[in-house]
């Protein structure tokens, strides 16, 4: 088993078929890499979405406690 091409440029041209071979491999490589890193991106997006939701929930809870405080002051004053 040995390297089939005399030099690099021959390896790149592959007797005229180089463009097809290299484009195929490159395309496949890109697709596979995309598939591999997609979960990472999605995960990052999930993280920021979760943080946003947590912030929203906090805001909501504050709003609810404020409302109960105004509507039922004696209840709100009670120590928890």
């Amino acid at each position: 088993m040995e390297f089939q091409f005399a030099n690099l440029s021959e390896f790149l041209t592959m007797g005229g078929h180089g463009i097809f071979v290299w484009v195929s491999y490159l395309m496949t490589f890109l697709a596979l890499v995309g598939m591999a890193i997609y979960p990472r991106i999605a995960r990052r997006r999930l993280q920021s979405e979760l943080l946003r939701q947590q912030k929203n929930a906090q805001r909501r809870r504050r709003a609810v406690s404020e409302r109960t405080a105004t509507k039922a002051p004696d209840l709100a004053k009670e120590p928890a």
């Binding site: 089939q4 180089g18 395309m27 999930l46 979405e49 979760l50």
Partner: protein, 247 residues
């Protein structure tokens, strides 16, 4: 018989924590096998008699074709399991399999048509295997589109699982009818993708690439499924810990 393991298997949390350990090994295996196979195939294999160097495309074309087909069954079977046993986990597997399968059939189509130009002088030919691969891609896209269309996750899951199942019934019919269609039209000018004697020397790197693609498939299937699970379980404590703990 103890069915405990089966139900535990259905638990997203158990699955998530169990599979975490396998990922690095699968990733390593696929990277090593794919690089060895590609280098071998690109540089160290004899030139093919008639097709010259374009023959080297086989090392990605054929594994992609095999997995695109096998992937459909992975998708349909996990969909069926989800429908029958109402397992959230297997729906997640189904969705992951759908997008990965679509990418693989796309790779098969593109490498195939890039191979077609030097060998037959045209990028596209309405030939039986190519046509049925194109329809397979449409089936995949249909499942994906349907799973994105419904407003609720649960109905989207079940609907796309059902579509995948219906598609399974249809795949043999499609494959067979397309073959039949092509033979009817007597395409004598081309004999495409005929069975050919593959030289063992050319076959070893192909074998390595096929195994590499299988590893890659398993790895991406796992990672995609795991992210989907995190997304769906975002309201549970373990998922939140998992998401925010890793930062």
């Amino acid at each position: 018989m103890n069915w405990q393991w089966f139900h535990r298997l259905g638990s997203p949390r158990w699955f998530y924590q169990k599979t975490g350990a396998w990922l690095p090994w699968l990733a390593l295996a696929s990277v090593v096998l794919l690089s060895v196979g590609s280098v071998w195939g690109l540089g160290f294999v004899y030139e093919h008699g008639q097709q010259g160097n374009s023959y080297r495309i086989i090392y990605i074309h054929v594994p992609a074709a095999l997995l695109a087909l096998a992937g459909y069954y992975v998708m349909a079977i996990s969909g069926a399991i989800g429908l029958i046993w109402r397992m959230k986990l297997s729906f997640a597997v189904m969705r992951a399999a759908a997008s990965i399968g679509a990418v693989l059939s796309f790779i098969c189509l593109v490498t195939g048509s890039l191979w077609g130009k030097p060998t037959w002088g045209t990028y596209w030919e309405w030939e039986a295997r190519m046509t049925s691969m194109l329809i397979l891609l449409f089936l995949y896209i249909g499942v994906i589109a349907l799973s994105h269309a419904a407003s609720r996750e649960q109905s989207a899951d079940k609907a796309s699982a059902l579509l995948a199942l219906v598609g399974t019934v249809n795949i043999p019919i499609i494959y067979w009818s397309v073959n039949w269609w092509n033979s009817l039209h007597q395409r004598a000018t081309l004999r495409v993708i005929e069975e050919s004697r593959i030289d063992p020397v050319m076959f070893y790197p192909l074998l390595i690439m096929i195994i590499g693609f299988y590893c890659m498939y398993a790895w991406t299937l796992l990672t995609h499924t795991r992210t989907l699970l995190l997304k769906r379980e975002m309201r549970t404590k373990w998922a939140q810990d998992e998401l925010l703990g890793g930062r």
